[in-house]
């Protein structure tokens, strides 16, 4: 059977190089990442299934699974159990004013923070520290921090 049109995986100029020193799953992640960043795989669209990627790239299931897990950890895809993996859609960010004198860092959440903030894998957090030393942790994909003009 021929691949349905619109699916250009086979015709891709890039393929997995089994002799490369780069692990196969990293190569697969790179290929899919390029397709996502190029907009060829659009936000919200489904990634080809595990079985399909295995066949088309001639690689093992474990490598496919690890490649997708890498993309998930980068916040590029999300996996819905029993359904498959999808290109993550960027969420609308709400504007949050930075408290006067506040400072900010970006980091990955701890395991606990990821649970309590209900974050997808691969989503960083913004940690805001006020002058009194109080700390607030905000979901990185939902917030845009602004430094107001008049404090």
């Amino acid at each position: 059977m021929h691949a349905p049109c619109g699916d250009e995986l086979v015709g891709s100029t890039l393929a997995i190089n089994l002799r490369s020193h780069t692990p196969v799953y990293v190569q697969l992640a790179e290929l899919l990442r390029q397709r996502i960043e190029a907009g060829d795989l659009e936000p919200g669209s489904a990634l080809p299934s595990e079985a399909r990627l295995t066949q088309e790239y001639g690689i093992g299931r474990e490598a496919v699974r690890m490649g997708i897990s890498l993309l998930r950890s980068e916040g590029l895809v999300r996996t819905v159990r029993g359904h498959g993996s999808y290109v993550r859609e960027a969420t609308q960010r709400r504007k949050v004013e930075l408290v006067a004198g506040g400072s900010v860092i970006a980091r990955m959440p701890t395991g606990r923070e990821r649970q309590s903030l209900n974050l997808d894998e691969g989503v960083p957090v913004l940690e805001v520290r006020d002058v009194q030393g109080g700390v607030e942790v905000l979901p990185g994909d939902e917030v845009e921090l602004t430094r107001p003009r008049s404090e």
């Binding site: 690890m66 916040g75 930075l98 989503v123 960083p124 602004t146 430094r147």
Partner: protein, 143 residues
């Protein structure tokens, strides 16, 4: 905490949780060896694939780095330099694109800060190297 093969949670995630807790509690300190694939596999009675996936997950979270010939170690977090966030600017945190990660030589699992100044200029800064602080000198924008 041990690994429960009957749990609904995949074994590799259980191992990642276990090691993550050891890192976050300080039991495994920055620079400490996490243990070889073989050792972790024996110690927890799980397959090497599961160990590999757990380590890959922790690496993507910026918690460990793997460098030959040293194996996998707890990532040492660099000292952050202070950068002023000007009045009227805004900032978001996100993961870098693959290009940015290469160009800025970021480890896996390191986010970036994208700073937009009032004039529309955009700066992308390494998330683990920078702390954004209030402007030190008063700018013309302030009252």
């Amino acid at each position: 905490m041990t690994i429960d093969p009957r749990s609904h949670m995949p074994v590799y995630m259980q191992l990642a949780n276990l090691i993550r807790e050891q890192i976050e509690s300080g039991e495994l300190s920055p620079g400490a060896a996490v243990g070889s694939e073989m050792r972790l596999s024996q110690e927890h009675g799980i397959g090497r694939d599961a160990v590999r996936m757990a380590v890959a997950l922790l690496r993507s979270e910026g918690l460990v780095t793997t460098a030959r010939p040293f194996g996998t170690r707890v990532r040492e977090v660099p000292q952050r330099r202070q950068v002023e966030l000007a009045v009227g600017s805004s900032v978001i945190a996100r993961m870098p694109t693959s290009d940015e990660r290469r160009r800025m030589q970021l480890d896996e699992g390191v986010p970036v800060l994208e700073v937009r100044s009032p004039d529309g200029k955009v700066d992308v800064l390494a998330g683990d190297e920078v702390e954004l602080i209030p402007p030190l000198s008063p700018t013309g924008h302030e009252e």
